[in-house]
Symmetry: C2
Subunit: 334 residues, 2 copies
Amino acid sequence: MTERILSLTEATRLAVDALTRHKVGPENAAFVAGALVAAEADGLKGHGLSRLPSYCAQSASGKVDGYARPEAVQAASAAIRIDARHGFAYPALALAIERLTALTPETGVAVAAVTRSHHCGVAGHHVEALAEKGLCGLLFANTPKAIAPWGGNRGVFGTNPIAFGAPCPNDMPLVIDLSLSKVARGRILFAREEGKAIPEGWALDPDGNPTTDPAAALAGTMIPMGEAKGAALVMMVEILAAALTNARFGFEASSFFDVAGPPPGVGQLLIALDPGPLSGGAYGSRITELIAAVLDQGNTRLPGQRRMNLRKQAEREGLRLTASQYEQIMHLCG
Amino acid sequence: MTERILSLTEATRLAVDALTRHKVGPENAAFVAGALVAAEADGLKGHGLSRLPSYCAQSASGKVDGYARPEAVQAASAAIRIDARHGFAYPALALAIERLTALTPETGVAVAAVTRSHHCGVAGHHVEALAEKGLCGLLFANTPKAIAPWGGNRGVFGTNPIAFGAPCPNDMPLVIDLSLSKVARGRILFAREEGKAIPEGWALDPDGNPTTDPAAALAGTMIPMGEAKGAALVMMVEILAAALTNARFGFEASSFFDVAGPPPGVGQLLIALDPGPLSGGAYGSRITELIAAVLDQGNTRLPGQRRMNLRKQAEREGLRLTASQYEQIMHLCG
């Protein structure tokens, strides 16, 4: 299989072209294409260009409104509600970041509740954008059902990512980004394709019992990272991302992948904190000291470092796509 | 060993008496005693009256300033800094809750950064207090070093609790409260006393290798819940609770238990979110629906339910103290 190498600019241009041919407005297509290419560059292929066919299918079918313009309402002096109007999440989150950045010089903290939203992609990218503006950011997002309440056997919550971004003086922001399932569902899909068992501890079967059979796991639920404690965190994120935003819960949301059903309508909650006034001006030196203490030990590295290295490589060398990936994109470009 | 049963009022009165005899001002003593008795009532003995001797010793020695009055400074329109002035954390957190509750009707979200603080006790109680005022609360606290950066072998971070409280219409608030170590350090101390091995996965020895020897574990570091993902969350909490508040990091903080060293000087970050405006008024019905979905499955229960049941029992029947616990308290009361 021959590989294709595309510059980030070429890849973005192709993705915009594919999206606009599938009922996505040009401004929205730019947000979506930029997000998918940024994920691909960071080596996060599950949120990268592999999503393009399903995104195009969902906008073509009308499950996602590719022309939706997100709308912001000031709910209180430091709080905004954003209606993504069943469009893609990226334009709504970009609007949230813009509004939060405008509010925090006055308020010190601000929150955006995004509702009627869709797949937020790489959760870390949104808080990284806040950190680039000098703000600490927290993002909570819910996703279609995958995890049962602790002790249960039916999915209620999503794999519900938490992301945190912190500005670092004279350096890239520190970004922490994790979904709350022990492993990504993609690893179970892969095991099924390969005909292999999965380790115990990844998933439960439809009766709520541990399983090593990928098919039973896919019919059942994912185990949260940190077991019972993690299950509590999953519920916390579900409340923050969906109850506080009046969005659909995991058990109510349709798939992010296919055209079946109504729009998923999930939610995201984004909090921005201005570290300067909160720390009395000490934040910059304190975060620098903490990072030094972490790196002072052998074998340690900062969270997100691998992504940053892959990003730099992609910026230098372009994105490597398989021939079939490239053909798929060209096919979408008609 | 004969048991003593004390009503919550009696226990609080004795604890206030013990504290005021050890250089704690009466107002601060009321906050501290109330917090310890509330922890004891919830069955959280590690944060309960077992702390009274060490609290008294620390205020008598001056490591904690029992007369400190916390001071609040408005850092921005929705952000306050609270200086606990190396007193107990409880009066500072009570001030934070009071100020956040006053701000949120206007701002929708508000944050308090508490610095030069001490052991926050049951993290869930502070967010429960916000939830009783109709607010969702998030608390991040750092604690003396116990957890290494992932891949490392020396403690940098504390066990760093996260707590979340959510108001529930016509019911007690939902409270999620977890420290980020896989198990509490007390369980390792107990294994050492019993001369038993600990399961692999709880702790690392001083070289950073897994250990089942409780002595090696106590000389080493605690494993975070959720392993590498949990280690990233621990770092997130350290930044929120200490870098954003200009407090001491885990690796800089002295013990919460003994009189050695300077004051611990850790930090807490408390965020209050007003669910009404954020959700456009839908929050109350949404959280009710989510809770119904969780409880609809056999074998599931809400986080914090065990504590609430123990609390009701303690309110009815009083606190059961061992004879030695009771004697210890009477001894402190001189």
